[in-house]
């Protein structure tokens, strides 16, 4: 007898409806959440236990409709069509009920058993929207559970109801009918599909409707189904409505949603509280908006810089004392000394150099994401991004890149055009991730001061702009921006601290071992004199072109793995206790920072680029970054030779 199949519950909803927050509450896994459409672009999975039964819980990327228009939405469509789903929890943003119910109708059309999580009920109440849950249940003939996922309110009830509903075998939601002659066409196609036996797990009505409104997505999912045979039926609808089928169906679905919404929701007071709207007037204003944007980044920059450098300053003497304490081992047992030294240098690198900058950065980024401000930035910079061949929507991916380039590459899935995705993906590795931000801050704090950190960041922005402009010359015009501006929300301290904690744990799990093992490996290869061969490889660039000590060459190899390694490796390779003791001039440090910031994305980013875009784009991006890093660093070297030594 085979093992019993684990049942699957999927969270499906429009972007920003709170699916990922709900998923986080229900599972032990922490998926990325933010107040920006399309943050979750991958399928997240967790096993949860309900009444002793293990259930697979799936968080699907947010989708406005099952007529997908970008890759993230396609992931959801494909999953629902191809996988065996036992129940869908349709997460609905109660504050924008009418629009949300359009997707609800499509899920009903699929025929998968469903429960509605009427989320953000607190927000609906705050704008004076009174929703009659019982009436909604009656009209949809599905269970409706009010929730406020961010506070965990109603979540337990939701999962119990979902579990109970999943046990039923006779669940049947109400079907919403289109105009009679459209229904006639749906029936004809539905019968044909049923006879041919396509999509056995999905209600043939759903496939029939899609064959009318969007046949290409059905054709792409199952090429055996020739949707062209329904062309005459589609033409008949088009002739009757004087518009294309997708417009007609969409219009009718919209009309049904409006009508449902009118029956169940009542506006008891006028509009949203004035504060967020008033604030928006400033944040989206072409002048005040930019002032706020610059102020925001300036504050973020200086907080990270000063918090980081203060903590590093406190830890540096302690580290030097500990390093001095085991120097006697050198004469006793060299192997033991190298191991202890490598281990300790790695720990110092992780705790003393990287974390002081990493933690404030990710904490501030978490606050930033929760507020919904990213969408405002996207709106503001749309014009500027148009000039470099992209539209403002790409900005979300770039901002995410400050935390880590990997989710940023995935986030390009929210872009509708492949062209915009490719350009963004090639440019994102130039965005300094938290590792490179730590390198920039730690080295400038030790040698050059905050002004040089500002100059490095401005130079990186210039590099991205020039490369975008050049890439855009080879590719056609950017697509126009269509972007949801979610309501501004006060960030939850608990959620932001939680996200920071989990990202810190990720760092400790993934990056810290690299730092410690890498440090030990470097100690051995230095001792065995292997490093000099690696240094030879980089000699033409590192020494000849950039006038840096050749010993830094081998550290760049470790930078391929994780950019934070550079910090540990540099001091180790140069035989000094702390980075502040590096025998480099300030000019050389700046040249080194520029090269390290721009050259080659880390190995994981490289493989994500391969996975998402193929080898051509990944190698193109890596090659471009090495060339740009060399040219950029060389320009600084030439500049310093002209103006002389700055310190």
């Amino acid at each position: 007898m085979g093992a019993e199949r684990i049942k699957t519950i999927c969270l499906v909803g429009q972007p920003n409806a709170g699916k990922s927050t709900l998923f986080n509450v229900l599972s032990d896994i922490k998926s990325s959440t933010s107040n920006f459409a399309g943050t979750s672009v991958k399928v997240m999975e967790s096993k949860i236990n309900i009444y002793g039964e293990t259930i697979r819980l799936i968080d699907l990327p947010g989708t406005y409709s099952l007529n997908y228009t970008d890759i993230a939405e396609k992931v959801t469509f494909d999953y629902l069509l191809k996988e065996k789903v036992d129940l869908v929890i349709n997460v609905v943003d109660a504050s924008i009920l009418s629009r949300s119910l359009e997707l609800t109708q499509e899920i009903i059309e699929m025929g998968i058993p469903m429960v509605v999580a009427l989320n953000m009920t607190d927000e609906a109440e705050s704008i004076g929207l009174e929703i009659n849950n019982g009436k909604l249940e009656e009209l949809l003939n599905v269970k409706v559970v009010p929730t406020t996922a961010i506070f965990g309110k109603g979540v337990r009830n939701l999962i119990e109801v979902a579990y109970y509903e999943m046990q039923k075998t006779d669940l049947k939601s109400n079907t919403f009918k289109f105009t009679a002659h459209i229904e006639d066409v749906i029936n004809v196609i539905e019968n044909d599909i049923t006879a041919k036996g396509y999509f056995p797990n999905i209600n043939p009505r759903f496939i029939a409707i899609k064959c009318i409104e969007n046949p290409s997505i059905i054709q792409k999912t199952n090429s055996n189904l020739d949707t062209d045979v329904y062309d005459d039926l589609r033409k008949k609808i088009e002739a009757e409505h004087h518009k294309q089928c997708f417009e007609t169906i969409s219009y009718e679905r919209h009309h049904i949603s409006m009508s449902l919404s009118e029956k169940i929701a009542k506006q008891t007071k006028k509009e949203r509280g004035p504060f967020s709207r008033k604030l928006d007037n400033y944040l989206l204003d072409p002048i005040f908006g930019y002032v706020a944007l610059i102020l925001f980044f300036a504050v973020m920059f200086f907080v990270i810089f000063y918090v980081g450098s203060t903590i590093t300053g406190i830890l540096d003497p302690l580290a030097a004392d500990v390093i001095a304490s085991y120097q006697s081992l050198r004469g006793v047992n060299m192997l033991l000394f190298l191991t202890v030294d490598g281990l300790f240098q790695g720990i110092v690198g992780a705790v003393g150099i990287v974390m002081p900058y990493f933690v404030p950065l990710i904490l501030m980024m978490s606050f930033f994401e929760e507020t919904g401000y990213i969408a405002r930035v996207a709106f503001l910079v749309d014009g500027v991004f148009n000039k470099i061949g992209l539209n403002g929507k790409s900005v979300a991916a770039f901002i995410m890149g400050i935390g880590c380039n990997i989710p940023a590459i995935y986030a390009t899935r929210i872009l509708e055009s492949h062209r915009d995705r490719v350009i963004s993906a090639i440019l994102i590795p130039f965005v300094p991730c938290s590792a490179r931000v730590s390198v920039i801050f730690a080295l400038t704090a030790a040698f050059a001061g905050p002004l040089w950190a500002v100059i490095v960041f401005l130079f990186v922005i210039l590099v991205i702009a020039i490369n975008g402009k050049v890439l855009a010359r080879f590719l056609k015009k950017p697509t126009s921006m269509v972007l949801e501006i979610p309501e501004l929300r006060r960030p939850s301290i608990k959620v932001s601290l939680g996200k920071t904690y989990f990202k810190l744990m990720d760092f400790m799990r993934e990056a810290a071992p690299y730092l410690i093992i890498g440090s030990i490996v470097l100690a051995y290869i230095e001792y065995l004199n292997v490093a000099k061969y690696l240094d030879y490889v980089f000699y033409p660039v590192v020494h000849t072109l950039l006038d840096l000590p050749s010993q830094l060459g081998s550290t760049l190899i470790f930078g391929f793995l994780r950019k934070e390694l550079i910090l540990v490796m540099a001091s180790q390779a140069m035989g000094v206790a702390t980075i502040a003791d590096l025998p480099l001039t300030t000019n050389q440090i700046i040249v080194f920072i520029i090269f390290v910031t721009l050259y080659f994305p880390c190995i994981t980013t490289f493989f994500v680029l391969v996975k998402e875009f193929g080898y051509k784009v990944a190698f193109g991006s890596a090659g471009l970054s090495i060339v740009v890093a060399t040219i950029g660093a060389l320009l600084f070297r030439i500049y310093f030779e002209i103006v002389g030594i700055i310190v």
Binding site: N16, Y64, S65, N67, T69, S95, I96, L97, S98, R99, E102, I127, L129, N214, Q244, F246, E247, S250, Y251, H254, M258, S261, Q267, D280, N281, L284, D285, P286, A375, A378, F379, D382, G383, N386, N391, G392, E416, T479, S480, M481, V482, L483, E484, I485, P486, E487
Partner: protein
């Protein structure tokens, strides 16, 4: 003919026709932007922001190229 781009901020309007390509039109429909609904332009001379006032909704930002392709009638 007036478009979303051509009108001033805080003007209420009804969408008559979306003259973009089908994929963008589909995206707009998916995001709840439909002909015949009433909107208000809340921001912008370059990219613009509109809000549906026929029912509760979030704001939608549109690039200026697209805003110039959406024919409207002031209400």
């Amino acid at each position: 003919m007036e478009t979303i781009l051509s009108i001033k901020k805080n003007i209420e309007f009804k969408i008559l026709k979306i003259n973009s390509d089908d994929s963008i039109k589909q995206k707009l429909f998916n995001m709840g932007v439909h002909p015949n609904d009433k909107y208000i332009k809340t921001m912008g001379k370059g990219p613009v922001v509109i809000k549906n006032i026929s029912h509760n909704s979030t704001q939608i930002a549109l690039g200026s190229d697209l805003a110039s392709l959406i024919a409207i009638e002031i209400v």
